[in-house]
């Protein structure tokens, strides 16, 4: 009897266990959450908007590193502005780097390939940000807001968030057409996990950016009416102005008149130059933003709360080496990486900075000539970015600039657009034959920059000196190391040509021209391989 009971009970237990457990395979993560939870409240929308913007400043979900957004590249390298800066500066006369990370010297040698990890990283970073924007825009649709019961002022705010996401997407598409030409084209209608997207030609994407910016611009907040760090009307105009200045390169058709129109809109919106040029790139440079400030749109970094190894942290650490005292730069130590070729000091009449304050070079122990790119002391160093504040503190009875919050991560915000560029766009577009502006105004604008640089009118120029070549040099003096140089040289036909050389251009000490196809970077072979709709740029 006992045995039968045992046997029977055993079977009953087994049957019960099997019954209850086959449905147990639906497990959910404990800490992660779903889109319905995230977007249940307006506050949740703003947190995702934070990521849509924050992807410009951060490399991942864990500051400073450890949970990156972009795979297949060292996370510290995967920062947007660090990669953008390398692609725009290291390939030109404005910067050299001493490091041996695989592929980085290709920029100087101008022999990059479709497998270059920095070019691959920038491409994926840019498209990652576009994908974030697309997803967010999708979640901001009227239908979704209706489903979630969000209405009234909350709904209006969220629709404004969506317009800003469209601006950021347009910005990243500008990056892609400027550097890579013909990117994959995705919008909020692209399905996540869906088929490979179509290729967008440079002209098509140019038109898309223009259309998008013009569509959102009327509803955007007025200049400086939005929160610091968020886009407004002026940001849309500034991007349009930059796009139009380079339209001939992108589409074959010039749009200088439009460049004048939109740069003028920005200039007339109440912006003024920061009084001291050397305050532009300091730890408290958020002071350059405001109703009458110079900054139009910035990437916001914070030494404690927005941390990573890219952006202005890179720009403050990489240029410090040799005999440069790290504490002067508000950092615990430099990375001994970036310097300039002699062409950049060459555009200044006085490199000491005594007259033109924009000349910020460190010369002690540094050689002007570069006999070896990978030696830090070859090439002058640049002191433009410092993680210190305008104000001073007393240390050991000596007055020194107050350091930023962290010695390891920079507080400096990076302006993607500032007023000085708009002045220079206006002047160049006028000189290139755009209508609606005047050379007198152009001269005034350029002299505003020079008056600030010289702290008086001694550096001002006359109308006869205002030439296109002068503008290119003035752009170098005013905007060097801010990520403009490659685009500028291409517009002036000086990037690949043998007519304009700098040390180590094309991997040769005296410089050499390279084939014209290198004005575009290659589409990374990884994406060519994953997306059969793409076509590799000619030459690669």
């Amino acid at each position: 009897m006992k045995k039968i009971i045992l046997t029977t009970s055993l079977f009953i237990v087994l049957a019960a266990v099997i019954q209850s457990c086959t449905k147990d395979l639906n497990l959910k993560p404990t800490n992660d959450t779903t889109s319905d939870n995230v977007y249940a409240t307006p506050a949740g929308y703003k947190q995702v908007l934070g990521k849509v913007y924050g992807a410009f400043a951060l490399t991942g979900n864990q500051g400073p590193a450890g949970n990156g957004d972009v795979q297949g590249i060292d996370e510290g390298f995967s920062d947007f502005f660090r990669l953008f800066w390398k692609a725009q500066e290291l390939s030109t006369d404005e910067a050299v780097i001493s490091w041996g990370d695989v592929g980085i010297q290709d920029f100087h040698n101008m022999n990059w390939t479709s497998n270059n990890s920095f070019l691959t990283g920038l491409y994926y970073r840019s498209l990652y940000q576009i994908t974030l924007c697309n997803d967010f825009i999708r979640e901001c649709s009227d239908a979704k807001l209706g489903e979630r019961g969000i209405s009234g002022a909350d709904a209006e705010n969220i629709k404004q968030y969506a317009r800003e996401a469209r601006f950021l997407r347009a910005f990243q598409y500008w990056v892609l057409i400027d550097l890579y030409g013909n990117p994959p084209f995705v919008t909020e209608n692209t399905v996540i996990g869906g088929p490979p997207p179509p290729r967008g030609t440079r002209s098509e994407v140019f038109n898309y950016i223009e259309t998008e910016l013009k569509a959102i611009e009327p509803s955007m907040p007025a200049a400086h009416a939005n929160e610091y760090g968020r886009a407004d009307k002026a940001a849309c105009w500034a991007l349009l102005a930059r796009l139009y200045l380079n339209a001939k390169v992108y589409t074959g058709t010039d749009k200088y008149t439009d460049a004048i129109t939109y740069s003028k809109k920005v200039i007339d919106a109440g912006f003024t130059l920061t009084s001291n040029y050397r305050w532009l790139m300091l730890a408290d440079n958020d002071k350059n933003w405001g109703p009458t400030g110079e900054f139009i749109f910035t990437i916001n970094y914070d030494g404690l709360k927005t941390t990573g190894y890219g952006g202005t942290t890179f720009l403050t650490h990489a240029p410090v080496g040799g005999s440069m005292p790290a504490s002067t730069f508000g950092i615990s130590g430099g990375w001994s990486g970036t310097r300039v070729t002699k062409n950049l000091p060459g555009v200044f009449t006085d490199i000491t900075g005594a007259t033109d304050k924009r000349a910020q070079f460190y010369t002690a122990g540094q050689n002007l000539e570069i006999s070896n790119v990978t030696v830090f002391t070859d090439g002058l160093a640049v002191t433009k970015y410092k993680n210190v504040r305008r104000d001073s503190i007393i240390v050991n009875n000596v007055k020194v600039p107050a350091p930023g919050q962290s010695q390891d991560f920079s507080d400096i915000d990076m302006p993607l657009f500032r007023l000085a560029e708009m002045y220079l766009i206006y002047a160049e577009a006028v000189l290139r034959g755009g209508t609606g502006g005047s050379t007198t105004t152009a001269l005034d604008y350029v002299n505003l920059l020079r008056t600030r640089a010289y702290t008086n009118a001694s550096g001002n120029i006359s109308s006869s000196e205002l030439t296109l070549d002068f503008i290119l040099d003035e752009r170098a003096r005013e905007l060097y190391w801010e990520g403009f140089r490659r685009t500028d040289l291409i517009r002036y036909n000086k990037f690949v040509e043998g007519t304009y050389l700098w040390p180590w251009k094309g991997g040769v000490a005296s410089g050499t021209g390279v084939p014209a196809y290198r004005t575009l970077y290659p589409i990374p072979s990884r994406d060519i391989n994953a997306n059969l709709n793409l076509i590799q740029n000619q030459g690669y």
Binding site: L10, G54, G229, D302
Partner: protein, 1014 residues
């Protein structure tokens, strides 16, 4: 009732029922066992009541004494080298047996998935290694017991740190991004391979002395019963069981001394001075010191290990039991490292209801206390300037010499190597890990239908690891490390818990149908397994509340400075990771005329890691074996004692080693250091994660053809196996078309890979006489791995997926997965050499002839996995002496010498960053400056790392009885890691993965042991 509670209830009630149902009806049988040839007594003969688990062994004088139940009618006597003998006992209480010799092992019982088989009845490729064949010496982790013993199985230790585990590969590994480790089943519980926080590896918590056998299942017909986790083979570990008779004790003690076999070859202080004087700037020459320090001498030292084990086994009334306790105390040769493991196990194997119900209870537990040495010191000991002394006169940084920079806020030179002695002595990284594995297994033979067994197995594997890391705020390694540079040091604690529960049940039907000369053995079963891991960022007090050391509530933050200042915080207080597997399985063995054997298995597995549409997978296999020796045409060929052909095919799956929730769209929250600022407010961010709703099983189809042979009555035996493993739908991380997912790389099922190979095993007894017995074993394996598909498209310019990060250039990789090549092939530039054979720096072959050197000139050169590996074992027994060795060889494996490439360049010695560093003497051969971004990827640094290693040599003496008949005393001496023959120029040619950089050196170990039975 949840599954977990249900399991608990079942386990509890089952445990209760055993104790109730025990009652004694035993009798005692004693006797003596002799050799039929000369009448000498035989010690160590297994005496086992037929049909029952457990048993005893004869003592040194050949006597045995066993307690058996009334159902036992037959005793089975077995011993290596002798024919198994079954003796019907009738009413006798005294049974004397004379055994005849036979070297054949065909009647050995081999443990397979969900059951056992006689070796002769196997259809699949299975190798059994029992304790008598285990490797000898100071072995602290189980897998080292079988290193080099089994064809097709590589066991590569992960380094010389105490308790560090090994990487095990069976037939090359079937996956790219999912796990390549075999499934390990300990006494019926398939365990979590992942380890626990605070231990070096999962198996390290099992005491090797408790292990009776390893059974390695290699081909699909053997492994497919484990379905979705079987692609990389299965290792079944069985622990020792209780014996019959009165209580017997075994005590073993071992003392060993570990020494550093070889130091990394760096510049001597004199060479260093000369080099800096010749190449340095005046400033660099000026910063040299006056000392002559061998930094490697400073960080390494001889280390002792003691290992004591006591076990007792016997039968109490009707309950066979074995209880053991072990204590291991092991120092590392890198000073400050230590591991202390206390382990215990209890095994109970009662049989009830006239042996209709067999119950096996296995409980194992261990507590491991570790202090981890800062292994960063291995690298800095190689690199630290030999002209500096260890200590300075300053009290700063604990008095240790460090590179200074007065202009930096910490006073330390940024990016300079840190004093290795300081690293070791200033870091206290301690952990305590507890683990328990246990199961209770019921096997019930139905009273009304004895051909049918019901088997129920309930198991668990729980572990808890917790630890503290303390570094004083004076230490250079974390000086003023807080973002505001005001707080330094480390004062952290961590806790992790894992729990793995298992329920398995199956029905087993066996029938011998004599009328049609057929035997049937069939099973059908169900398995449920749950794995969960929880990380806590704090410590739990007895009430389950997270607290700090003082008992106050601990913040849910994880990284603190010494003074308690919060440096960074994880987003959540805890994180729980969980996955489940549910399976249905069946197997049919059919034997016709005792010589035609057929096996078919099927398993259906469901995994919580996949969406409902892709969740379930079928894993079938079939095999046929032909015992040719039983055919008439071979029956009378006396020289041939065995010949069996095996052919098998099966499909297995793999889903281990991937994320738990990869198919679910989800958002994750960023931490406090990754916020973003709008206006004056900082926002915590939500990030959408990349996901793949179409994730599914990867599948490996294995074909195996094998031949088992035996000659001269089994004195020569072995097998040859040919196999092809084709993995399809590889779980590999691939590029997503940009713009279509939230991650540019996603785990997806794309790609195919193949492993092909041949295994050959030979076991022989070249000499066999009364006094002298020589056992010799040899195995060799050839394996070729090739990736056959990797992407949807095949752009010729797409080289493959880069892997294998190296030191020297941030983000640089030296290996690649490419179609048409072995996985992780080296991807390098082809070095150009001058007439004297010296490499010319930064001069590489322009392989694509386009006039420039760039990544398009990289090529695939060799791979880290060997083409051929082998093992040689020998054991000689002469009277009371034994002596043996084990030797392993590996051929065709290449290694990237990262220590040469990273430290053997001028730029490393006279660093432009304002400090000096020592480096590899390889510098004097190449004179490389280290400028440029390509020299790191030169094929010059990829070296042939083929080797032959003498794993151990041992000698032992058996004193026999020393205090009464049933006692036995053995002593042994042993040298491990005796020598290595290789062309490789680095320290050790055996580094798993093929990149050698700062590998913890494997010590040479001298051990003495004493083993006592009483």
């Amino acid at each position: 009732m949840s599954c977990k509670n249900l399991l608990k209830a079942v386990v509890l009630s089952a445990l209760l029922s055993i104790t109730q149902l025990l009652h004694a009806q035993d009798r005692v049988i004693s006797g003596k066992v002799t050799d039929s040839k000369d009448g000498s007594v035989l010690a160590g003969v297994n005496v086992i009541p037929k049909g029952i688990k457990g048993g005893t062994q004869t003592a040194a004088d050949g006597s045995f004494r066993i307690t058996v139940g009334p159902s036992v009618t037959t005793l089975v006597f077995s011993s290596v080298g002798f024919n198994v003998q079954e003796v019907i006992i009738g009413q006798r209480t005294n049974v004397d047996v004379a055994m005849s010799t036979n070297a054949s092992s065909l009647n050995e019982v081999v443990v397979i998935g969900y059951g056992t088989r006689m070796k002769k009845d196997l259809t699949g490729s299975v190798t059994a290694i029992t304790s008598k064949d285990f490797n000898k010496g100071a072995i602290t982790t189980p897998e080292q017991l079988i290193a080099g013993k089994v064809a097709g199985v590589q066991v590569v230790s992960n380094g010389g740190a105490p308790g560090s585990g090994s990487t095990i590969r069976i037939r090359g590994g079937a996956s790219l991004n999912a796990s390549n480790s075999p499934l390990i089943v300990i006494d019926g519980v398939s365990v979590d391979n992942g380890g626990i926080a605070g231990t070096a590896n999962a198996l390290a918590m099992i005491n090797p002395n408790d292990i009776e056998s390893f059974n390695i299942l290699k081909d699909a017909s053997a492994t497919a019963i484990y379905g979705s986790r079987a692609s990389n083979g299965v290792i079944i570990i069985t622990t020792k069981k209780g014996s019959s008779g009165k209580m017997r004790f075994n005590f073993s003690t071992l003392y060993s001394l570990s020494t550093l076999p070889k130091e990394a070859d760096v510049l001597t202080p004199a060479e260093f001075r000369a080099y800096v004087n010749a190449h340095g700037t005046p400033a660099q020459i000026a910063i040299m010191g006056n000392a002559n320090t061998n930094w490697q001498d400073e960080v390494y030292g001889n280390a002792s290990t003691t290992d004591n084990n006591l076990s007792m086994s016997g039968t109490y009334k009707k309950l066979p039991y074995r209880v053991s306790i072990g204590y291991l105390n092991q120092d590392g040769i890198l000073t400050t490292g230590n591991l202390q493991r206390t382990s215990g196990s209890i095994t109970l194997n009662p049989k009830l209801f006239d042996d209709h119900l067999k119950i096996d209870v296995n409980l194992k537990g261990s507590i491991t206390k570790s202090r981890f040495a800062d292994e960063g010191a291995i690298g800095t000991a190689v690199r630290f300037d030999p002209t500096q002394s260890v200590m300075t006169k300053s009290n700063r940084f604990g008095g240790y010499f460090e590179w200074l920079d007065p202009s930096s806020t910490t006073g330390l030179r940024k990016l300079a190597p840190l004093n290795p002695v300081g690293l070791l002595e200033q870091r206290t990284d301690k952990s305590k890990s507890q683990r328990s594995i246990g199961n209770i297994q019921f096997d019930y033979k139905l009273h009304f239908f004895p051909d049918l067994h019901v088997n129920l197995n309930l198991g668990y594997d729980v572990s808890k690891g917790q630890g503290t890391v303390f570094v004083p705020d004076s230490a250079a390694s974390s000086y003023k490390r807080s973002p505001d540079a005001k707080h330094g040091g480390v004062n952290n604690r961590y806790l992790q818990k894992k729990s793995n529960s298992l329920l398995e049940t199956y029905l087993n039907y066996t029938k011998d149908i004599k009328s049609i000369s057929s035997k049937i053995d069939a099973i059908a079963g169900y398995s449920y397994q749950d794995f969960s891991t929880t990380n806590y960022f704090g410590e739990l007090n007895p009430n389950g509340v997270l607290t700090d050391a003082s008992g106050a509530k601990w913040n849910p933050y994880s990284d603190y400075a010494t003074d308690g200042y919060l440096i960074s915080s994880p987003t959540f207080r805890t994180d729980k990771q969980q996955n489940r597997l549910i399976s249905f399985f069946g197997r049919l063995n059919y034997t016709f005329k005792g010589k035609y054997l057929l096996t078919g298995t099927i398993r259906r597995d469901g995994s919580s890691r996949f969406s409902e549409e892709h969740r379930w997978g079928w894993f079938p296999s079939g095999a046929f074996a032909w015992r040719m020796k039983e055919e008439n045409f071979l029956k009378n060929v006396n020289v041939l004692s065995d010949l069996k052909l095996r052919i098998g095919y099966g499909v297995t799956g793999q889903q281990d080693g991937i994320a738990n929730y990869g198919y679910i769209p989800r958002y994750t929250q960023a931490n406090a250091q990754a916020q973003y600022q709008f206006g004056n407010n900082f926002y915590t961010l939500y990030r959408p994660e990349g996901y793949n709703p179409n994730l599914k099983w990867e599948q490996t189809a294995t074909t195996n053809i094998g031949l088992d042979y035996g000659f001269l009555n089994g004195r020569i035996s072995g097998s040859v196996d040919f196999y092809v493993k084709k993995t399809t739908d590889l779980l590999s991380v691939i590029d997503q078309p940009a713009g279509t997912n939230f991650s540019n790389k996603i785990l997806a099922n794309i790609g195919n890979m193949e492993n092909r190979g041949v295994e050959f095993t030979l076991n022989m007894q070249p000499v066999k006489s009364k006094d002298l017995l020589w056992d010799f074993g040899f195995n060799i394996t050839y394996n070729k791995n090739e990736i056959t598909k990797l992407t949807f498209a095949n752009d010729p310019k797409f080289p493959g997926n880069l892997v294998g990060g190296i030191a020297g250039g941030v983000g640089s990789t030296v290996q690649i997965h490419s179609v048409g090549f072995p996985k992780s092939s080296f991807y390098v530039y082809q070095q150009v050499y001058d007439e004297s054979g010296k490499p010319i720096e930064n001069l590489f072959e322009d392989r694509n002839r386009d006039g420039q050197i760039n990544v398009d000139d990289l090529y695939r050169y060799k791979a880290p996995d060997p083409d051929v590996f082998m093992g040689v074992n020998s054991n000689v027994k002469w009277k009371k002496w034994t002596a043996g060795f084990s030797l392993r060889g590996s051929f065709g494996n290449y290694m990237y010498n990262n220590r040469f490439s990273n430290t053997g360049v001028q730029r490393n010695i006279i660093d432009p960053l304002g400090f000096l560093a020592n480096g590899s003497r390889n510098l004097l051969e190449t004179n490389f400056t280290g400028n440029g971004d390509k020299y790191l990827l030169s094929d010059y640094y990829v070296e042939n790392a083929s080797f032959v290693r003498m794993d151990y040599i041992n000698v032992g003496y058996n004193f026999g009885a020393f205090a009464g008949k049933s006692t036995n005393l053995r002593i042994g001496a042993n040298v491990q890691n005796v020598f290595i023959v290789t062309k490789y120029k680095g320290l050790d040619p055996e580094v798993f993965g093929g990149i050698d950089n700062n590998f913890y050196p494997r010590p040479r170990i001298f051990a003495l042991n004493v083993n006592l039975d009483f």
